[in-house]
Symmetry: C2
């Protein structure tokens, strides 16, 4: 039994702060709960009226009406801790606190929240909220929210786990409008006790749930969330909407009292844990529409066959798929030949297939495309034309995975959509919605493939070089990690530098060697293209002018494309790896991709394909091609050092150059954790 | 009277190719037209039956049943020209051809299309299609399409002008689902006669239309489309969806027989003509939902005040607005003080305003924000809570422009949305839809401001330098255009080069001067940092080694950010100007923005803010700030040369450097038009 059963599946519920004034929160909540078939009682010490099922305390209510598992506290923040203690004394094992005025409001609210949490810990009961609109479980006729209208949302396969009560309700309404229902829909609010990981864990035992819609604003325990998403997505798809792409931190803090978490890192961590990411709440509805009916088997690179009955909407759909990087490959010769038999010669028979005005043969076309060995999912668009085509009637569910976009009058389309769903075929209402659904199905198949790959091996523990962590030591570390660096000599005087000039293949880079100077180029600490003793002396003179006592001489690398590759610690999610394009343009674009350091080399190497400037890594204008496996190995090695060495804050290679001879690290910086972080 | 009145407002309609077989196109079309209150007759020479209103020809039909303005041809492509001629002889002044098998199918279809067009020209009648699903005008009960279900779409304020018949229907259904209706919805198909400009012109006299939804796949007459959009958007907003962002050219060609037009240039041309651009068909529905009810006055930079009753959805909305670059500024002191009076202290009273659970005072908050002198539009989100808030009841339409997002059960929200619309307040169903609507309202206000600015002055005619158009001549031209270049000397021998070394401020760039070598750097034709006679001789030796007979010596410019600025000829839209970031990273990202050359310097300068890497132009890492007015002046000057000089193909400055001292052109290439294009 889950710790959250008393909260989400209570035998009896007490509304604490029940009021006769119909506009008060307590009265609204009581109205919301009216349909609940179990016990619902009111508690109001100053207005007890057992005849109206309103008692002076939870204990009184329980002895009169039977067990009360859940107390819904509709009392001011200042007295909520006392109300919780009273409820626990009366036998309640869970409380819901909807009202605000806690940490999110600042001032005395911070103390009220602390007292409330302490009371819950003392009593050992589950606490949802405060500052949330509650939750609903339509199949239990349980609407524990102060928006009674949400009782109209039907039961169904979607669990909503939302950071915000308002978003929980907004999503429930949008799902209902899309013809879907919910198993459980929860708004977490300040999430001082029950958080997203707890609800995801609770859902593990809920076989009504076929997909989870997760809304995230901020995260305080990154590893717990990642573990919960990993466990949940192994069973059902998890679709995540992370807010805060742009600077909304101040408003977000006012909302739940939490600091905004890095949007980029949160998305990367959730994705790595198996979640499908979406960009807004409508994309979320589209994704769960598809994933609540259909889940593709794990696949590293599923491909889509598109069939359309009308060219124009099909073109919109394919344009969208291409923009999202979905493979829409050419068909096999056998498929092309079969389509030639099925379709009149005027139609377009490549991928996409344009059937022209559809007839009963539309199903055979769908089946022919599904049978192509290179196709993992068929995506079809058609306008509803009952005179010409009975789509549910011609679909063969055994032919292969199919998702459909269906335009038409709502009343005509609704029964067709239901019939398709019964066949295991999700349907959407527009080409763009179909695109979002296809992307979600494919992202989920990829996530499953990543999850089912062998778990990464524990990072090898490497010895750190002794002494100061200057560029030479950093490159020694890189060498131990198997990352290639140019031949080099660390020189303590000019004579050593001249010996190095004789020994190293030229031309050389001559650099200031000082761990305290991180941005050497900015201060004139790097001289390139040094070929002879005269040039070396000039370079050494200049470096000595900067106060340099030590020099690094290094063979210059061949030209190539410069990347930034690093590992650092995220305050919430722990060690992460980062890949970006080098140079000031890429920096201005903030063109970087991140992933948890615990991922596989394949996942890390795939970061290259998330970069806006990825064309540069694929032989752009005759340049080199970046080996994704080698790139992944470098990133995983850097991340591994952080996982194995708690005294390190970050390791950064900038630039890591892509050359025709492979990757080579031209500069590296290792940073120790500040004392205060070394607990 | 419009040339298209016989097409869209016919007195009588003949279905040519009427059939007894209910599955045939002619029978479906006759069923679609059944509700039309005017005359509808069938024509079938082989199955005439006047008792069933089916005649041997259009003339027979007209003499029996009254004037036939429109003939709908449901006959094979091979006989359609003859059927058109027969219809015209019978008095028809317009034909609709839905069937395919014309140019889009290739082969004999190309000839059928040519014959059909010739017949229409001979007869002097309007021809819609071929290869379209037709049109509908619900207020006239006129459904001239072979998708009879579209008769369920109600009359309303949206005109749909779609390249594709399928998209026309898909949009009509989506609009109906969003609670909107259409005035006229047209699918253009192959558009061999009636095209988007014609329909836009026809709509000028249609006062039922309050907004136009325009879907574009390809354009053959750019200036005609631009002029039509300009005229239409002066009267009502035009929202445009352009397909083909990604490579879908082959499929697109199979669809309507037309080559895909440049997506980027088409968007730029439509935007410059006053259209609001959207990214997919759902965004189009959101945009017309807003613009069919509300149009802001012209404004160069309208700002938005956000009010939300629930923090979470408000956060999604504000995150979206920030991502789209919508200004959500701080309020005035007076507004802050007024909000302090209206709201409890726990709520967030900046922009966005979080009211907490809303009550009747919500309307006063909306009015207070609308009254802020820095706010042009109020965007509000609320969940429907009839117990707490009657939104239509508290909105003061006189307070200022307002757009609303309203979540809740569909049945509860629908009447509220209607009541709001009657007050001039558009409403959307989700935070993301609200974001799209706000962006559309603001884009339209900006487009109106651009359109109402003074028209650009005609470009000054400059003389082209005589002789070969090498870099020196190109820079002479730039000088005449007022574009700054570094001091330079074109040298015909080494002695001249040494004189130039003495005269020009150093260090110098020494370049090959040869109009035939466009990419000088790639062949080693550029030597930088030349300071003395020894270095100059080395450079000249190397250039002579390349076969150079002439040299360009030039003072080197200070460092800065390099741009690419140019003007070229688009095959469809004519001269355009282009701005991009310089360098290989920007090139790999294809980070360029384009605009018609006929725009104002303000429009051209604003291209800088469309670049992904625009941060680089605003003092990134202590770098220079690009003066938008100066940039606009350069681009307009380059465009002006192309407008004034038909013998030129393009003028490109690469790089145009942004320095602390302003813009300076470091290299320039002028290209003449190929002979075959110089008509």
């Amino acid at each position: 039994m889950s710790r959250l059963d008393p909260l989400f599946a209570p035998r009896g519920i007490a509304v604490v702060g029940a009021s006769r004034d119909p506009s008060k929160l307590g009265a609204v909540m009581a109205r919301s709960l009216r349909a609940f078939p179990g016990t619902v009682v009111g508690v109001n010490p100053r207005d007890a009226d057992p005849a109206a099922a309103r008692y002076a305390g939870v204990a009184e209510a329980a002895s009169a009406a039977g067990p009360i598992d859940l107390a819904v506290l509709c009392v001011p923040a200042s007295v909520s801790a006392a109300a919780l203690t009273d409820a626990a004394a009366g036998g309640a094992r869970a409380v819901l606190v909807c009202s605000g005025g806690y940490a999110e409001a600042g001032g005395p609210g911070v103390a009220y929240q602390r007292e409330l949490v302490a009371a819950a810990v003392d009593a050992g009961i589950a606490l949802l909220g405060p500052n949330t609109s509650g939750f609903l479980d339509p199949a239990r006729a349980l609407t524990a929210t102060f928006v009674p209208g949400v009782a109209s949302v039907p039961p169904g396969p979607v669990a909503v786990v939302a950071a915000s009560g308002g978003v929980n309700h907004a999503l429930a309404f949008l799902l209902a409008e899309a013809g879907l229902g919910v198993s459980l829909a929860v708004g977490l609010g300040n999430a001082v006790d029950v958080g997203a990981p707890d609800v995801l864990g609770h859902l593990a035992a809920d076989d009504r749930t076929r997909v989870v819609a997760l809304h995230v604003e901020s995260v305080d325990d990154g590893p717990a969330l990642v573990a919960a998403v990993r466990a949940a997505s192994a069973r059902v798809p998890v679709v995540a909407l992370v807010v805060g792409r742009n600077d909304v931190a101040e408003f977000a803090r006012s909302h739940t009292g939490a600091l905004a978490t890095s949007w980029r890192t949160t998305r990367a961590a959730l994705r790595s844990a198996g979640a499908v990411l979406v960009d807004d709440e409508r994309a979320l509805v589209d994704a769960v529409t598809a994933l609540s009916v259909l889940r593709l088997p794990p696949s590293a690179g599923p491909a889509v066959g598109v069939v359309t009955a009308q060219a124009g909407p099909g073109l919109l759909h394919v344009d969208g798929l291409r923009g999202r990087g979905v493979p829409v490959p050419a068909f096999s010769a056998a498929t092309v030949s079969r389509l030639g038999e099925l379709l009149p010669p005027l139609t377009y028979q490549a991928n996409p297939v344009d059937t022209g005005r559809p007839g009963p043969g539309f199903g055979s076309v769908l089946a022919a495309v599904a049978a192509d060995p290179g196709i993992d999912l068929v995506s079809a668009y058609a306008l509803s034309e009952p005179d010409a085509l009975d789509l549910p009637g011609v679909v063969d569910p055994a032919a292969g995975p199919l998702v459909v976009g269906l335009g038409g009058p709502a009343e005509q389309v609704r029964p067709q959509r239901q019939a398709l769903r019964d066949l295991g075929v999700p349907s959407l209402t527009s080409p763009a919605a179909l695109t979002t659904a296809v992307v979600a199905l494919i992202d989920d198949a990829r996530a499953q493939a990543r999850a089912s790959a062998a778990p990464p091996v524990a990072p090898a523990v490497v010895d750190l070089p002794s002494g100061e962590l200057d560029e030479d030591a950093a490159k020694t570390l890189l060498g131990r990690l198997g990352v290639r660096t140019p031949p080099r000599r660390a020189c303590h005087d000019r004579a050593a530098a001249h010996r190095a000039l004789a020994e190293l293949p030229g031309p050389l880079a001559v650099k200031l060697l000082d761990a305290r100077v991180v941005h050497k180029s900015d201060v004139g600490g790097v001289h390139l293209g040094v070929r002879d003793a005269v040039e070396l002396d000039a370079a050494l003179d200049a470096l000595e002018g900067l106060g340099a006592g030590r020099f690094l001489l290094e063979s210059m690398a061949p030209p190539g494309v410069d990347l930034l590759a690093g590992a650092s610690r995220d305050a919430v999610f722990g060690p992460i790896v980062l890949l970006g394009l080098g140079g000031v343009v890429a920096e201005a674009l903030a063109d970087v991709a991140v992933a948890p350091a615990t991922g596989s080399p394949e996942d890390a190497g795939a970061l290259a394909d998330e970069l806006a400037g990825r064309a540069l890594l694929d032989g752009f204008r005759g340049g080199p091609v970046a080996d994704r496996a080698a790139l992944g190995a470098v990133l995983v090695a850097l991340g591994g050092v952080l996982l194995a060495r708690p005294e390190l804050e970050s390791v950064e290679i900038n630039p890591l150059r892509v050359t025709v001879d492979g990757l080579i690290a031209l500069d590296a910086v290792v940073t120790l954790r500040e004392e205060e972080h070394r607990v």
